[in-house]
Symmetry: C2
Subunit: 267 residues, 2 copies
């Protein structure tokens, strides 16, 4: 039997009128709050289902309140159903009606993609997963680290020993546990699974809650591992941006994201 | 009297229940369709007004139908009103009710910004505006070019003579006509005012309609000119992404954006 935990734990059930029921499953949290990529994946499943299109070409999420284990709903409102893309808004609420996340997305079918290709960025130079110590997965807080696997480039993992590289860059590999296969919605999990790139600087930043995250998924991944590069270029005014690029094992460009995150003042 | 054309032509009037009336003013179009940055600025004025906060920290727009001169409405729905940021959705419709644009935004007050600063990207190296031929503004189609002014780096302007630089990069200056002062909403105009960076490649791309555009505004600009860098890294599958970075005359980082645009197949 092939592993399906991520698929099961992000599943949604239609209950009519564009509403989907789902569960924030225990174990996908960091210090009690569900991981942002995990919440995004649940919302994206509802959006893709209501859109009748499997792939989130572009999805923007605003994170408004922490997600706790338990039942949630996702209400999807189709704004425009085009040939190429179905545009929708969505809202995730907990069982008491509190809004956890507001989204705006465009879904389509990447199997129909065609056009000229010119990619002028390269996959990050990362040693193969087996040569990146599997212990670097310990940099992801529990219990989330038991659900996904990340392996960092050895040069980018020093921050945990108090030896940041000095560059706000983290390169590494991501996969779901038990080599569960990756659909384009699992890619949304990947872009928010790594430690923040800013941890590789000497800035006094201990956590960076995401305010807004936009991801463009450009192709379907082959293989079990995703090769990722996270970086932050602009820390200023109490915010930072974090970029991600995602490539598959074959070096195919899969996705990119940018988030705006809060830089809480040191206590 | 200081110039106010952009401010006037993007003005909105509240008509109750979160609805704002506005006009797509003739002259802000390219070949009959209103420029995307101009439409975004109108929507952002409505969002900022309803939010009671002047600055779009993060704003995502999906472009769903072309805008033609005439009356429009923008309906703003506040999702969460936080201390730091007011999150809202908005929908722009024409007088027949057709949805032109769907938005998701977070507004705040950049005057209250504070925190550590570390910026690891540099303003693009562009000669002063007076040394960038003002004729490069002619690369912007009429009548839009009479409303804004762009001056390109001479090295990035060859594509108009059929001599693309080979790199999907365009560097240059932007200002509103008559040196009208720049608020953070005018910055939204700037990120969608330049010719597409992909024109500097040999790819057979003649127009690139924007599907989705997300902009983060990080600071208020001083001076009349913005120094901009547009680039495209990934053309694939019938889409491209375009990035922008915006800096002010003093070299302060002001904003960045990323858009997903369509690459129409050559006819």
């Amino acid at each position: 039997m092939s592993p399906v935990r991520f698929r099961t734990d992000t599943a949604v059930s239609p209950v009519g009128d564009g509403r989907y029921a789902a569960n924030i499953v225990d174990g996908w949290d960091i210090n009690g709050n569900a991981n942002g990529g995990y919440l995004l994946a649940i919302a994206a499943r509802a959006i893709a289902a209501e859109s009748g299109r499997p792939d989130p070409y572009t999805i923007t999420a605003h994170y408004l309140a922490p997600g706790k284990p338990g039942p949630i709903t996702v209400d999807v409102d189709i704004v425009r159903s085009g040939r190429l893309m179905v545009t929708s808004t969505a809202r995730m609420r907990d069982s008491e009606g509190k809004v956890l996340m507001q989204l705006l997305a465009g879904c389509g079918d990447l199997a129909t993609s065609a056009g000229p290709e010119q990619i002028t960025i390269a996959p990050p130079d990362v040693p193969p997963p087996d040569e990146c110590a599997s212990t670097t997965n310990d940099l992801v807080p529990m219990p989330f680290r038991a659900r996904i696997e990340v392996r960092l480039h050895p040069d980018d993992a020093g921050f945990v020993r108090g030896e940041p590289s000095g560059q706000a860059v983290i390169r590494g590999w991501f996969r779901l546990r038990d080599s569960e296969s990756l659909d384009t919605i699992a890619v949304l999990q990947a872009v928010d699974a790594f430690p923040p790139a800013v941890f590789n600087t000497s800035l006094p930043v201990s956590w960076v809650p995401t305010l807004e995250l936009t991801t463009h998924v450009r192709a379907r991944a082959e293989g079990e591992w995703l090769r990722c590069r996270l970086s932050t270029n602009v820390v200023a005014g109490g915010f930072l941006e974090e970029e991600s690029e995602v490539w598959d094992e074959q070096g195919r460009f899969i996705a990119q994201s940018r988030q705006l995150a809060l830089v809480p003042r040191p206590k």
